[in-house]
Symmetry: D2
């Protein structure tokens, strides 16, 4: 890594005393080293190179935006994720109670709400109308996919004198935030644009943890146990559970360990074939297990095994994400066929968890993470940072350049402790 | 109703003093009137007719089977349902702790386990190996669909000297129990065959409540709330939830009231059309609502709207049940098409709850119902009743002839308080 | 029972056509027989007596109050109970959507809100502000204990032209509703006063089921399992769980069956002593069990064993309920002492569930019951019934005179199937 | 920090090829830097000092113990914590499936089970008898407090030829593990003794996360919402919730953020007084809030406010932990008194969560953490490490010397992001 890649833009010099009370301020040059290996760290120093590190998040003693003159906007984009309302609530509380920003707007339906052509009036957010929202799944603001023109959106922000923008969403949303930041700079507007990373798949690079993920794992675990019950309840029963995970199989891997009844964990990162003699051939392995044990649970991420489909035209959603072909149905069909050819009874019970695990409220430590992430986003914005994602690394909240966060997707490393644990817990 | 239809066969005269302690015995002629209207009740008496009534369940002072010489068998058949393990546990506890029956067999995989051709050895059940099972969904015995020859099964029972048989399952299972009872009688064997009604759809006639149903409603409610979050989270969002309910829409109706966010509740009992000018045309009504409110939740029972599919050959499962065509997918397609034709954005999020709501453990009062149902099944068997279903009516546990229980399915009455409440809570 | 005791007062002749659509009206003389035994029923008829029966609840073809001129008030009194907000929501929906009553007031903090001295302004309830409330525990209206003068309250109702009053609460609340009805009649005001029975203890006579009870049982069951884990986790561990149940032990009994790990279920209805030689002596029995099994779970209702305390002055709460002495702490002390005297280690883990099981939202079928109860309360009020409780009996919703409902508390019958099941599942 | 404090003892040279498949081995000198600030890190290097760092956990290419000759023992000590059974299951699976260790003993009731005087036979653990245990709270092995003689315990290990010992428990348990390691070394026995840190309070120094903590936070959050409902349900209602947290208030702080209804979060780290004029005076602040808002929720850790009690003799439990005086009851009494003196009604609802939040099964990501912690404990033991705790730091699993882990307790830093977030979310 090159330490220059970690640079975070600032709107200007912070000169206003922070109104934040009873809190140790984080120095402007505080860092969180990217690496933790002492050998690697020493190497940098000995070579005279700066240690690559994230800017550490947190409240600054001097801030850039004058709270009394500030107006904030919050929006949510992309698919639902547990915790959206916690983030909205804590952005609002921190802006209103800690910094005393007088006006906080909730923008409706993502970037769409910043384009007046859609006629979507914003909501004023405050302590009272956000008090209960953490108990609801979804987002009180509504969400949408797709892009709007940066020129039009910045025109709206300029017209409304908004200088603090919080965009909660995935990498598409982060790229939109970047476009807004660039356009604002072009027009000479001092607008802090902060992206708050939302990915139920936990697949954002350079960020070690995403909100909503743990709640999704908890929900998936409930049904992994149900799939086990279905598998044992029928003769030669197979519980087949499909979960989210377009490019990365973190939900599948975690749910496998959280409900350690799962026998096969299929993720995009680990290729397998259906038939053949190799150790990566699913059907013969499964057939053998069924003869021995008469039951099995298969957990499959939606993005797994895409290469098993006949090649054809790709289909993409409004956010530009490739739409996966349904690996769950393919597995169901092929397993049924394989057993039928061998005159062996099999009873597959298919659980497609799609929306069931993402539409609930975040809970416990996951909700706490939302609260702290939101607060650090506000600290960053008030300090005049922009064009960045608020992240988490090595136990600290961090500032991450959007370019870095969207460069690639985080994936399961097949030699990592996580995947090793999955292998130890499963049989394939 | 004719009072003769309520007759329950007895194997012979009960002459053995019950070992049951500290419990008021239920007289052999105790009854639970079928009707509750005083006008109807008076009419019977004035006409000199017997009031139609179920035999009341409960422990008898004199029993038919000598516990010390008894051997019991328990089996589960058909699809999973919350509470199967509670029933198995309380059958075992009552047989062992209350009646001191020395041997209780758990038969594997339903009726299949009574046919030696399948090579499935039974399990001996006792207090220790059933102690934790109420915390698990599914059935520890395994289940299966399909029939076995009554001759072969009774031969097995005779060979093993089993005189108490408990068949937990739906109406197919009850018919199988009847066949066993008839064959046992033909062979002169004194075997009590008791059917314990299992239907997650709560659709057994002459029985006002089925175990597992309430837990399924609870689970479905969680996802109805999730569907509401998805509907509000996207612009013109529709949460579409499909639940079980082949012939009867009780789960859909109850879940609609339990999570009163649902706007459309579609059940087999209430016909609707997709398009047209009438008040029963779903798509125009939905389209109008979406223009006004921008979100909707639809709850649909799997058996609803089957007449909307093109006619073709019926497909049946191994239990002989008609397999429904997927009304959820049809609705999804037709709604998308309808809105597309009108150039109106719509975002449908489809929840197919199939197995997710039936594979969990029963909880709370539902588990209590399992416990009491199981106990009354044992009391009936020990008293020498056979060829019957243990049921519940007007607040009492009852004995129901299998012919009565399987004569028709219980359905939602469209003029009942239940459906009235659903109509008040929804908009269609 | 005497059939005259079932008489429900009517404000006057119902002459207005009901606006209720698509619903079969319940005839004004529809009844639900109190008894279900055919022998008992026949006896009444043969003796020329009317069969004692409740008036059946439900919508009437002709109603008394003109909806367009009506104003309704809803209040909640006494302790929290799961489902209060469901009842409030469905009263509101039924009044507004089915009967088109223009104004529905939510009265704050029980009867207190009807006394202007407290300065508590009412809330206007409608579809929008009640849409989410079923997801919250507690009551959005606030509650309180204690009485207010009927004269003052009726003066408030008269001043506000309120002709429909719904009082959700226990037997104290029902008596308050009766006082309002009497005072309204004295002043010649046509006010329907309907009491909706709330008792988490499920102890109201002549009503077979109370809302909130099933949710409380579900919650108590979670901790009964936790108590089992604590008991097995420590050497000679005892999990001691205290639940609500001042006069009746229904929660304790149901939770015992719902989580069938409980070994001792102690309720007010079944007396026991601490020491001695008898079979009802708890400590020697427990001591013996611990030597054999090294663990035990005790479920105790707060009102159990009150006679074990030294006699003294009774303490009552603001509702006039006798405050129980803490049987949980007494048991904890006496068990510790008993084992200490015998030099035997014991590790008691005490769970006092008090508020933890009553402050949650109602769920599943329990929420459905709230919805239907509320609707039937509105039907009764609109039809001009007053001075009554809406109840449930033998599978039907009913009208119950307040005098009957408050005459005595429902208690566990020690020879009932419920208690029999508890005895079968426990060891004492 | 001094880098020497991070040294982990090794039993001898690792010479045996690891049987672990398809996993990247962690080099023996892999490290996880203690600090993440680049300025601090550079300072060490420039001063010629080694960067203080933990040994990184994970599988080694060469191991010390020959699996085929190995025997393992697992024990759990101290209070219950969610996840104990997950740890036991994954220790067993890793030992049996990954390393093929033939014998894994479960020792009953903590260290007590290693003293033959108690007559507690061990259990043989395997894949089958641990398959379901992750679904149960508590520990299948039983637990206990208190010490046993290291000489006697090592004599037992020697007699049974056990060379791998896993002690799951708090700092008392870690000290016991240290004593075993020292005694084993004195006798020349090659026994790896690995401590697995269990603290529901999340208060072990040099370890950033403890298993069970997140599940406890989740449970506490449910009741914080209940306390909010009770507070709003009564006039001038106060929901008072006591949670675990003897020396550190992490559960209270996290639960406050997870259910952001809490208005006062009282922890041992932040002193407060009851009365007076200062900003740290609880009662006047609370009184003022109640006049304005009529409701409040207080979350208090059991160790908070201990200095408010009259001084007296300290009481300690069998593990030597100081037993706290009941701050919950003190607050309840003093608040009642304060309001009474001011003739102001107040309704306090007290929730003592004690065992209710620790006796449940771990779920979701918390269970995953248990699985991975257990696996790394086995890797450490097989590689010949001893006298250490397996920990987690900066996103990596680590080896921590027992002396370091038990030197002090981790506490909430009052200037940390966590406490800052709590202050932002509460009013005191």
């Amino acid at each position: 890594m090159d330490s220059k890649e970690f640079f975070i833009p600032r709107l200007g010099e912070a000169q206003i005393a922070s109104p934040v009370q009873a809190m140790e301020f984080v120095p402007d040059d505080a860092t969180v080293a990217y690496d933790t290996s002492t050998a690697v760290l020493e190497e940098y120093v000995k070579n005279g190179q700066a240690i690559p590190a994230f800017e550490q998040a947190g409240p600054r003693k001097l801030i850039y935006h004058d709270p009394a003159w500030s107006k904030a906007a919050i929006l949510t984009a992309g698919g639902l994720c547990p915790g959206l309302n916690d983030v909205i609530k804590f952005l609002t509380l921190t802006l209103k109670n800690i910094y005393h920003v007088p006006l906080v707007y909730g923008i409706r339906y993502g970037y769409r709400g910043l384009n007046p052509a859609h006629g979507l009036a914003p909501i004023q957010l405050n302590e009272d109308n956000t008090d209960d929202i953490h108990q609801q799944g979804g987002t009180i603001l509504g969400s949408s996919r797709g892009e709007e023109s940066a020129e039009i959106m910045v025109e709206t922000l300029a017209r409304m004198n908004i200088n603090l923008v919080f965009c909660i969403g995935g990498d598409g949303t982060a790229r939109g935030a970047h476009d807004i930041a660039v356009e604002a700079e072009r027009r000479g507007l001092s607008i802090s644009v902060i992206s708050i990373p939302k990915t139920i798949d936990n697949d954002i690079a350079f960020i070690d943890k995403s909100f909503g993920f743990e709640t999704a794992v908890y929900m998936a675990g409930i049904f992994a146990a149900g799939a086990h019950n279905e598998a044992k309840g029928a003769y030669n029963g197979i519980g087949l559970v499909k979960v989210m995970g377009r490019d990365s199989g973190f939900i599948a891997a975690y749910a496998t360990l959280a409900q350690s009844y799962v026998n096969y964990c299929l993720v995009p990162e680990s290729k397998f074939v259906l038939d053949g003699d190799g150790p990566d051939a699913l059907l013969p392995h499964l057939y053998k297990r069924m003869l021995e044990k008469q039951h099995a649970v298969i957990m499959v991420a939606e993005g797994a095994g895409q290469e098993l489909f006949p090649q054809g035209e790709d289909v993409r959603d409004a956010s530009g994400n490739l739409i996966n072909k349904d690996i769950g149905l393919l597995l169901k069909d092929r397993i049924n066929q394989y057993f039928k050819e061998r005159n062996t009874e099999v009873n597959i019970k298919y659980f497609d968890l799609a929306y069931t695990i993402r539409s609930v409220a975040a809970h416990g430590a996951d909700a706490v993470f939302c609260a702290m992430l939101a607060q650090n986003a506000v600290h960053a914005a008030m300090a005049g940072r922009t064009d960045m994602v608020v992240g988490h690394w090595n136990g600290h909240f961090t500032h991450v350049p959007i370019a870095l966060a969207t460069r690639e997707r985080k994936k399961i490393q097949l030699n990592s402790p996580l995947w090793t644990s999955v292998k130890a817990s499963t049989c394939f």
